[in-house]
Amino acid sequence: MKVWLAHHQDAALLALRRLAAAPVNSLLSLLAIGVALSLPAGGQMLLANALHLAGTTSAVPQISIFMASTAERRAAAEIESRLGKYGGVKQVQFLPREETLARMKTNPGLRDVIEVLPGNPFPDAFVVTATDDRPEAMEKLAVEFRQWPKVEHVQLDSAWVRRLDALLRLGRTAVILLGVLLGAGLIAISFSLIRMQALMHRAEIEVSQLLGATDGFIRRPFLYYGVLLGLGGGIVAWVLVGAAALWLRAPLGDLIRLYDLTLVLEALDSRDSTMLLGFAAGLGWLGAMISLRQHLRQY
């Protein structure tokens, strides 16, 4: 066991020394791998944030009913009681125009605008959720509500949620596709770098074989080299994505706030980070393994 550990330590140190022996080459390789990996990793970061945003936003489709601004409170009460009795309506929330005005005034950007307007520009409104929230059923309710007296506008709020859902599904596919493509790229980079290493250390491979080394023994430092390349590239990618998240946090937050949502862009979480580093190391190893197969068949 101790001997086994010592072997692995030797192999890892040897791999590190070889990386350090050509620092410029090694750094450029790490950068290449890191940039390649940062694309799927960055995609995953954006996707995770988008999912979080979608999760904190109501995904339950709603129907908003806006009364005519000339309608009196009595008309609204009339509609409220009709909604209460209407089959298919699950829940009704009444938003009085005064409350809406007060809420809007808390937004410093809007307050100035509202202040110069005469009177209250907001109508009374209802937010309705339906027992059956499939799009066809919702659409039918909306058509019905539009015919009720003093109702000026009926809006189905489910559409953008569905669009977001579709978009996120597409995003996930894109991230997976990127991951597969650039993962294959990483294997290729590791393959050719290890090939160069194996050619550089051809004499050592040959001598080791002649002195009775098993394939496992000979492979070990090269596999560590591949793993270190992958891991190093993974760390570079992680740093790049983290930096991008920090950089984008303020401008993206401002943009999202315009839609009345809040988003604090987060870097990769611990699960995604572990996956990134694990995959990177594993693919580096795999590239090395494939590359070495041809070099171990000589003696």
Binding site: V3, A213, F217
Partner: protein
């Protein structure tokens, strides 16, 4: 210990390096393999360590037919055999100490015991003070002795040496020959390919001529 039974070796595309070769080497024997350049001396030694495989006949080492060994069994055969190669095959990016350490690392020796063995082997060939040097800093004779130290550090019972005194001045060559005699005295079986028969008095000669045994 070693038996060649009607062994032949043909290299592609059709050159017979060894033909119908039969002989035996018993334990603790010292045998020198001589013959002109291209006679097949190196090939003979390579067949014993299964670096090459015979195209006919059988090579038995310790009763084992080494030509028929699976690839995965080769490392364990080679660990029992010490080899001094014609071209030495030293690793020039590693220190003298690390070159000699390599067979022990390969065999999975505990590092502490291994270091002691390396120093003992270097001491034996008179390189104890050069362990930190790189092989390029050594003279030809010292490089040859380094190759010998690496071959014997595992304390093999069989030692193969391919022209270990070639390219050495006569004094250095005698020095190297003396080291082999010492191994012979402690019971190591030796096969030495050489032109310099006179350096190994008392050794049994095996004379090769175009891949065939003469005498």
């Amino acid at each position: 210990m070693i038996r060649f039974d009607r062994v032949s070796k043909r290299y592609p595309p059709g050159l017979d390096a060894l033909s119908d070769l039969s002989f035996e080497v018993t334990e603790r024997e010292m045998v020198i393999v001589s013959g002109h350049s291209g006679a097949g001396k190196s090939t003979l030694l390579k067949l014993i360590a299964a670096v090459e495989k015979p195209t006919g006949g059988a090579v038995l080492v310790g009763g084992q037919n080494v030509g028929g060994l699976a690839r995965s069994a080769l490392p364990f055969l080679r660990r029992r055999i010490g080899m001094v190669f014609q071209d030495q095959k030293l690793l020039f990016d590693r220190s003298v100490f690390d070159n000699v350490m390599l067979p022990l690392s390969i065999a999975g020796f505990p590092p502490k015991d291994a270091a002691m063995r390396v120093r003992a082997a270097l001491d034996k060939v008179g390189l104890a003070s050069r362990e930190k040097a790189l092989p390029v800093m050594l003279s030809g004779g010292e490089q040859q002795r380094l190759a010998i130290a690496r071959a014997v550090v595992n304390r093999p019972s069989l030692l193969l040496a391919d022209e270990p005194t070639a390219h050495l001045d006569s004094e250095t060559a005698a020095d190297v020959a003396r080291i082999f005699h010492e191994f012979h005295h402690v019971g190591v079986t030796l096969l030495i390919a050489t032109y310099a028969n006179e350096l190994f008095p008392g050794a049994r000669p095996l004379q090769l001529d175009h891949g065939r045994l003469v005498s």
